[in-house]
Every structure is written in C-alpha cells, then in structure tokens.
Symmetry: C2
C-alpha cells in the first residue's frame, strides 16, 4: 500500500465513491455495494476488508445516485399549513423529523392553498422529486386527498383517522374521547357532580369525538350531563360561551381545546373566581400556554404518534408488492393535572 493513493474522482469535493473504496479494498465496486446492501452474499473476510476501506476513506453512499437507480428517495412529504398553529404542529414536526431520521428518512416540506392545490402538488413531488410518500395531517370529513393518493398507489399515512369511514390507507390517531373521558373521570373522582362541556360546533370529526368521551364518563358514573356550550376555537367567542356556561352553575368544565380552556380561565378571573377551587377546568392539547397558565390539559403522545406514522408508512413503502393491509393505530392521551383542576 504505497502512501495514501486515493483514487478519488475530481469535481466530487474529494468524496469517496464505491469505486475508490473498491480500489482500496482490492475488490469490485459491486462487491462493496453488496457488503452494504446484501452482506449475506459476501465472504466474511472480504466484507471485513471492505468495511475497513469504508472506514478509512469515510465513504458514504451518495443518495442521488442510489435514487436514480432505485427510484427511492427516502424522503417523505409533509404539508405545512398556513392556518395559525394550535401549538401541536410544531411538536409533531419535531417528533416526526426525529422518528424519520431514525429510519434514515427525511422530511421535505411543501405548502398548498387548500386540498385541491395540495392534490395538484402531489404529482410534482412524487414524479419529479421522487418522494416516497406523504404524511397528511388534519384529516376531515370529505377529505379527498387520501383517495386520490390511493388511486395512484402513492403511499401515505394520516395523523387523524378518516372521518368518512374509508379504509384504504394506514392512519394514526389520538383517542380524543379517551382523553376527555380521563379528564371527566378525574373531575368525578374529585367529587364534582355538575360537570359541563365547552366544545366546538357540532359535526363529525375531532370535536364530536372529544365530546363523546365526556358523555361516556358521565353516563358510566350515572351522573347527569352538565351544561354544554359550543363555539369556534377563538378566545373571544370562548369568553361569551364560558359566561353562558358559568351562569348555569357547573362546578367543573371540560373543554375541547386549550384555547377554550383559557377562555374559561379568563372569564373566571373576570368574575373574581378562582380556577381549581371555585370551578375546575380542563383543556385539551397541553400547549405551552396551558402549561404557563396552570391549565390542566390532555396531553397527546406526539412522539409516539410520529413514531407510528413513520413505522406505518415505511412498512408500506418497503413492502415488495405494496399490498400490505393498511394498519391503524389509536393512541391514548394522558391527563396532566394542574392548578386549574385543583392539583399542585
């Protein structure tokens, strides 16, 4: 071995290639490739020699070349929404990026104005950028995105179950009903018997699901339903709804979101009442502000959600025929009790 006779090619920023590693180890490029991708084909001492060369040269396979050959980019698409965040998306984004990296996948972002525009963007991202699949969020009744992707055989997974009962794609969701049920049980255990609910406007989807947990808990305990109010996810509307609710004299309120929970807190303060002692309040999502305001809240296990999303979609991508039955995963959130419901 005379000196450091690297046979690296020019215009390559001096990076090692399969060829340079092969030369160093005294084998063919194909064998180096096999060591990395199909080790069982290679004799162990040869493999050892190749691995040494890989280490010495700091070789790392070049994605674009692999991608050109295999049509796999190891990149997943994720839409970033324009709508004001509820504080959940950031955390999901981070967890998803982490979970993907663990399996050697990356996340690429795109934006779109509405579902139709998103659908139009798929072909560009799939054909031209070779994205391996898409992670979709905020599923809603009448969502046409998943069926579009399914028709074209493009892998996807949704964070959020399909609300129209369709069944052609894997999904991961958090059991909102279980979350509000835990919150309600927590209040019942603390002795409350007049427990109201502040929710979103009626309609199939996340809002109704969360409300059903509150109902189920009360029914199971044979406690009559407390007052109910519904409004949009807005602090001002929430204040008005909270005022109406409080006039009905509940001792506790379960809220469909932290924003509405905070609205209740604000209304309580306005009335000179103390959250947690006079009226107990629980929110949903465990956002930063809830944390800061001491609002009890239901925490979504976003790290697990992200992990499951990546697991499900990579399984789909890496399945030979692409014909595995779609898996589902429904995760249970946990209650984080704080001062607003009498804790700590």
């Amino acid at each position: 071995m005379p000196g450091s006779g690297d046979s690296r090619s020019p215009g390559n920023r001096g990076r090692a290639t399969l060829g340079s590693v092969a030369a160093r180890a005294g084998v063919s490029p194909q064998t180096v490739s096999n060591v990395l991708n199909a080790p069982h084909l290679v004799r162990s001492d040869t493999a050892e020699r190749v691995r040494d060369a890989v280490r010495e040269l700091g070789y790392r396979p070049h994605r674009a070349a692999r991608q050109l050959r295999t049509r796999r980019s190891h990149v997943l698409g994720l839409r970033v929404e324009a709508a004001p965040g509820d504080g959940v998306f950031d955390r999901f984004l981070h967890a998803l990026t982490d979970a993907a990296a663990e399996r050697d996948y990356r996340i690429m972002l795109y934006t779109a104005r509405g579902d139709e525009a998103e659908i139009a963007a798929y072909s560009e991202l799939y054909d031209r950028w070779d994205l391996d699949g898409f992670v979709l969020t905020s599923t809603h009744p009448g969502d046409r995105r998943t069926s579009h992707l399914a028709d074209r055989g493009i892998p996807c997974v949704t964070f959020g179950r399909p609300w129209d009962g369709s069944d052609h794609h894997p999904w991961v969701d958090v059991d909102g009903a279980a979350g509000t049920r835990a919150a309600t049980d927590h209040l019942l255990a603390a002795g409350h018997r007049r427990i109201g609910f502040l929710g979103w406007p009626a309609g199939p989807g996340v809002g109704d699901d969360r409300m059903s947990g509150w109902q189920a808990a009360l029914d199971a305990a044979e406690v009559p339903h407390g007052p109910v109010a519904r409004c949009h996810n807005d602090l001002t509307e929430g204040r008005a709804a909270a005022a109406a609710l409080l006039d009905a004299g509940p001792t506790a309120l379960v809220c469909v979101s932290d924003v509405l929970g905070l609205a209740v807190l604000a209304e309580l303060t306005e009335r000179g009442l103390q959250a947690g002692t006079d009226v107990a309040v629980v929110g949903f999502d465990d956002t930063d502000v809830a944390q800061m305001a001491g609002l009890s809240s239901v925490h979504q296990p976003l790290v697990e959600v992200a992990g499951a999303c990546v697991r499900l979609i990579t399984r789909l991508i890496e399945s030979p025929g692409g014909s595995v039955p779609p898996e589902r995963e429904l995760l249970t959130p946990t209650l984080v009790p704080r001062a607003s419901s009498g804790a700590g």
Copy 2:
C-alpha cells in the same frame, strides 16, 4: 406522427424523459436540455417544436438525475428545534417553504441536540444528501455554526444577526430596537410619561437590542426612564416581575415578548385593573395568543424575512465562484395596536 407512439422506458412509472421528448420532437436529447436550460443556443422554431413535445408528454425533468450530474439538489436544510416554540417558528417555516418554492427550492428538515450535534450533522446532509445550503435560526453570542460552515465553503444564511460581530455570511434580521421604539413612541403619543420595561436577563443579543429601542425613544423625547424588571420568558416569573413593576406605578409597560406581556395582563386582571385604560401594555412577536388576548404587539414581517433569506442564499449558491460579498438585510417590524394599549 402515427398514433401516440410514446417511447417511454419501463420501470419509470410511464414518465417522459429527455429522450422520449427528443424522439417526439425529432431532435437530440441534448437539444431538449438546451431548450430548457440554455434557450439562447437553440433556433426559435426548433425550440417551439420541443416545447410542444414537452407539453404533450407532460415532461418534467427528473431531479435526481440532474442532481447527480450538477451536484445541486435545490434543497435547503432547516433545523427544527425541540424547544417550546414562541409561535414565531411555525409562521417562519411556512413563509420560508413558500419563498423557497417560488425559486424552485425545497426545505428539508433535520433535528439536533445542541449546536455541536448540528455541526456534526452538516457533513451528512451536505455530502450525502447534497443540500445546497442551510438556513439557520436562533443565532446567539458564541455561535460556532456559521464559522464552521464558512470554513468549508458551505452556503448559509441566518435569520438573526451574528452577535459576535463576525461578517462572513449573509444574514436577515428584524430590527428589534426599532420595534420597541415604535411601541414606546406610540405610548408617548398617547400621553404616557411613566413608561416601564419588562425584559429578559441582561446580555448581548435579542433582549438587550429590544430594550435599547425603549431607551432610545424615551431619550429622544427627553422623558425619564420608567421602572425596569428582567426575568426569563416564563409566565410565572413574569407575573412576579410584573407585580414588582406595577408597584412602581408606571402608566405603561413595554414588554420584550408576548409571554411577558400576557404575564402583565394577568397581573393587571388580578388587581382589578383594566389593560389599556389603567395601564397600557405592549408585547412583542404578535403571536396568536396576543391576538386573542387583545394584547398590542410588535409584528415581525416574517414573509419578507423568509423571502430575503431565500434570495440571499440562492444568490450565494448560484454565484459562479461562490465569492460574492455577504449581504445583510435588517427589516423593520410594525406595531399592531390593540385594546391593551387603548386601541380598538
């Protein structure tokens, strides 16, 4: 032209390639490439014929192949932070994705535990994934990331100026001092003469910069400085600091962030005082919660910031020798007056 005799290659999901377009237009693949990348080399009638073929076949160049040849991925890296978001990052993310798409660039995410881990991740992303450059956020004194990148000739741009006076990379920032100055001027114009400041712990960086704007406005108006308190960006700490500040009897408070602004609002409500009439309050960042709580705030022009980031880094990437002098851009935020400072 007998029928639809597309000469598309197999294993290609039926996508058109340079070759199939060339065959259809009756020219060589190279000419098709020239039409798309160097139109001045091609006679106009030929170009027209090629463009027709492109349209008919729905041809779109394949990124991986181009990337393999040119070593340009048209992808920018962006780190997504674990830290609880201040509500600014989401909006920046969306704006950046949009701005990048406009120039045919995409954003790829990565995570890292600390700056050193991020530095370690660069080579993987740059060498293996061929990222064209990085957009860095949350610059801070003693930031070693930019010099590392500069040493290796890897393009980057930062959202946030370098706080150690270094000058080897382009950056975009929002003039925090101008923002607090506008806020203070707004309060002065409303007749306030005892204007306090609630800031972060002293030290070079964003916090001191924002405080300096408050000072400058008061000095220019020859009004004495009101009371000052400093604490971390936390609602609980903020409440205590706000209490101390209010005891000093200011008629208005400028806050370094919305979180601390909300802390002041909470403390005011506790005391039975009305924000906007009894004491005026202004926050910083114009987050969703500020909007909902009616907190006046300083709005960062994130769309412009993102646009500038993309413009600066693409200029760097696409400059032939890579040796353009680093540009800087300091954007001015705007005040959004709300009820908490007597508006609307």
